[in-house]
Amino acid sequence: MKKLLNAFPIPILLTLSPILIHATMEETSLFEQPLLITSAGQNAEVQLAAVLAKRAGLNYRLEKLATGVDLENMKTLGLVLGASMKGLGAAGLDIDKERERVRGLTAEAGKKGIPILCLHLGGESRRGQQTDDLMAEFLPLAKMAIVVKSGNADGFFTRICREKNIPLVEVEKAAEALEPLRKAFR
């Protein structure tokens, strides 16, 4: 094996990388608590994420309009992805203002060394141009992503996660995100 790896390191590592990433995820919890949960897009699933975090026994706070100051004393940023016109309207935002908010938040997280966990819990029906544009910008910042499988039918998440070496966990439905979420935290 060692001779093989020495001879063909890159192809072998690339082939093994999904297994390695999966194995890494299984063996190592990537994140610490407390967790700040917010959305990128003012979607309804952010509430789901909060319920999952509660059921997972995590120390978390939900702030739908979180900005950099809300990262004080936080160890992880949970970003629930998905644009909702209804949610944006209710928050008095448009997509541009929301994008600016999340940019500011993720920039501050980067400065503080706070890792980002991305979630997409709405499935296939919660994909669309605005959501995809938002996700294309913020998903690459993630240290890990948990998504409902039907939302990845076209490989959107797989492509970005593979490119950026982000461990990707797919679940059949939002409720099944509970275990991967629990395991992701120390």
Binding site: A44, Q47, V51, M85, G122, R126, A174
Partner: protein
């Protein structure tokens, strides 16, 4: 329809469409007890055909209930109530006995039109500043607490309609709904999406183990939903009548649930509720006559205003959904919303200047004020004395029976899933219709004891040459009358078939305090059109391709003295139809 059009050209295009495969025909014979599969592409125009009768509604199981009633000899009113009951079971998030609505009836023998108003009422303890004084938490109190619950009108409305114009009992009308609630069904994508959208309010207000969530999480498409509590409640209503709802055990449970969530509804409020029969609102558009529900249903009034204004313009010359078309109608809508803010309320208590609002002179003045080259930026209301000349979500259904009787019915619990409050053991959701009152205590539509909040609903029947031509309605909150106007213009001006007209891309705008809000439009509208609208000075918000924000219309087109009855339903929700 333009009188100059040759009827044969429309008939020919309809025939071609039916035969050559833009539509597929849904057989009305031997309907299975499970929902028939939708077409592969739900957005492809689909027409349902009947010779004797037809039902269109926002859910296939509800359509089946209405059609069964027609085929068993019930009339249009019986079928409409059966469908309404079934919608409560099959589409529980959009309407039901915890809400209210309006029903427009056409009685073929007498050629009379009647309207049943079963809009919810504010409790006797309501006061104008009840929400305003909550400050930043106002929106929460208006939508997610017991204070948001208005006295439900649906059971009373359905019972009144059956008593006066039906041939079946409430118990008979409830039978299929009981089965649907008891046996359940797999949840659709629409149900799942809406369940997710409203999750926060449901998680706040539902009891643990509620059937409106699956183990505390939103339903995924295909998961089984059952509501045995609702079935039991329907059985109680079937056995004991609506007295049980307004004065009996159900009433006590409603009051307990509302007051546990800081509401003010009392047993006396429920006992005092009455649905009523009122005169329809009538108007015209070119050579069509239109009947609809009057205020407090404002939708029909504003729809007529919009059509009146549009009569002044060369719509066909501008082209369907061209920038000029969207610009002019959006500007008109902004003026109409200014009138709505200024003049609309419950006509039992305030005067609504309906005739002045609908006058051709007023419409012409608005049409001439609108500039073709830019958005105006300011939209004052009309100036009228408040002389009396008369006295929103949501779902819609249409029925026509073999005698030609027609029902156009829109009903609601306001927001999807209403307050999310379910009286213990009853299975039905309570409305948050109090949110339809104005936030401003000075408004004619401010909360007040016994007032019915202004509604955007507009169930309607369009007549041509004195005969029913189009039955139509839609949910969609404040977008209702804009969407219905566009559908009517799609048919009358742009010669679309009924379902093409319903599926065509929509837009909407409004004003608040005389200031314009953005034009919202579906992404299927051409990018060049969007760019031109921005150049005219509009802010534009592009939404999804088929966005339920713009409603979920259902319609029936009656052609050639009922020799052809076509139905169509909106793919933006789970619209369906069936005829026989």
């Amino acid at each position: 329809m333009n009188p100059k059009d040759k009827p044969s050209s429309l008939a020919l295009s309809l025939a071609i469409e039916l035969l050559v495969g833009f539509s597929f025909l849904v057989s009305c014979q031997n309907q299975p007890r499970v929902s028939p599969p939708p077409p592969v592409d739900r957005h492809t125009p689909v027409h349902y055909i009947g010779r004797h009768g037809l039902v269109v509604a926002a859910n296939p199981l509800a359509v089946e209930a209405g059609l069964d009633m027609l085929k068993s000899g019930g009339n249009a009113v019986d079928a409409a109530v059966a469908t309404a009951f079934a919608l409560n079971a099959a589409e529980p998030f959009a309407s039901g006995i915890g809400g209210g609505g309006f029903m427009v009836l056409y009685l073929a023998k007498s050629r009379q039109v009647a309207v049943i108003d079963y809009r919810e009422k504010a409790p006797a303890g309501a006061w104008p500043t009840m929400f305003k004084e909550k400050g930043e938490a106002e929106d929460h109190w208006r939508t997610a607490t017991g204070l948001a619950v208005a006295v439900p009108g649906a059971p009373a409305g359905w019972a009144l309609a059956l008593r006066r114009y039906g041939t079946r009992s409430l118990a008979q009308a409830a039978q299929r709904a009981i089965q649907i609630a008891e046996q359940g069904f797999p949840v659709s994508q629409t149900f799942s999406d809406i369940n997710k959208d409203e999750y926060e309010r449901l998680a706040l207000n539902l009891e643990e183990g509620s059937c409106y969530l699956k183990d505390g999480f939103p339903y995924e498409p295909g998961e089984d939903y059952r509501n045995p509590d609702l079935a039991r409640t329907f059985r109680v209503l079937a056995e004991k009548g609506i007295e049980e709802f307004y004065r009996g055990d159900i009433a006590r449970r409603i009051v307990a649930a509302v007051q546990a969530k800081q509401g003010i509804l009392t047993l006396e409020d429920l006992a005092a509720y009455e649905a009523e029969e009122v005169s329809p609102l009538r108007g015209t558009y070119k050579n069509f006559a239109l009947v609809t529900a009057p205020p407090p249903a404002s939708g029909g009034l504003h729809l007529l205003q919009l059509l009146r204004i549009a009569e002044n313009w060369p719509l066909r010359g501008w082209g369907h959904n061209s920038s000029l078309y969207i610009h002019h109608l959006s500007e008109a809508l902004r003026f109409i919303f200014a009138d709505r803010e200024r003049y609309l309320g419950d006509p039992h208590f305030i005067a609504v200047p309906v005739e002045k609002l609908l006058s051709r002179e007023y419409a012409a003045s608005i049409a001439s004020a609108i500039r073709p080259d830019r958005a105006l930026g300011s939209y004052p209301p009309g100036e009228f004395d408040n002389e009396s000349d008369r006295r929103s979500n949501t779902t819609h259904l249409c029925v026509i029976d073999r005698e030609g009787n027609i029902v156009s019915l829109t009903q609601s619990i306001n927001d999807f899933f209403g307050t999310g409050i379910v009286p213990e053991g009853t299975g039905f959701l309570l409305n948050n219709q109090m949110a339809d009152f104005s936030s401003s205590p000075d408004s004619l539509n401010a909360p007040a004891p016994g007032h019915r909040p202004v509604s955007s609903m507009a169930p309607l029947i369009l007549f041509r040459d004195g005969k029913p031509f189009l039955v139509l309605g839609s949910p969609g909150g404040t977008r209702i009358f804009s969407s219905l106007a566009q559908i009517i213009l799609n048919i009358t001006e742009f010669r679309m078939s009924l379902d093409e007209a319903i599926e065509a891309p929509r837009f909407f705008s409004y004003s608040v305090g005389g200031q314009p809000r953005p034009i919202a439009l579906e992404s299927r509208i051409a990018e060049a059109t969007v760019a031109e609208l921005r150049r005219l000075g509009h802010e534009v918000r592009v939404r999804e391709a088929y966005d339920k924000y713009f409603g979920g219309a259902q319609g029936i087109l009656v052609w050639r003295d009922r020799k052809i009855i076509l139905g169509a339903a909106d793919s933006r929700r789970d619209g369906w139809g069936a005829g026989y």
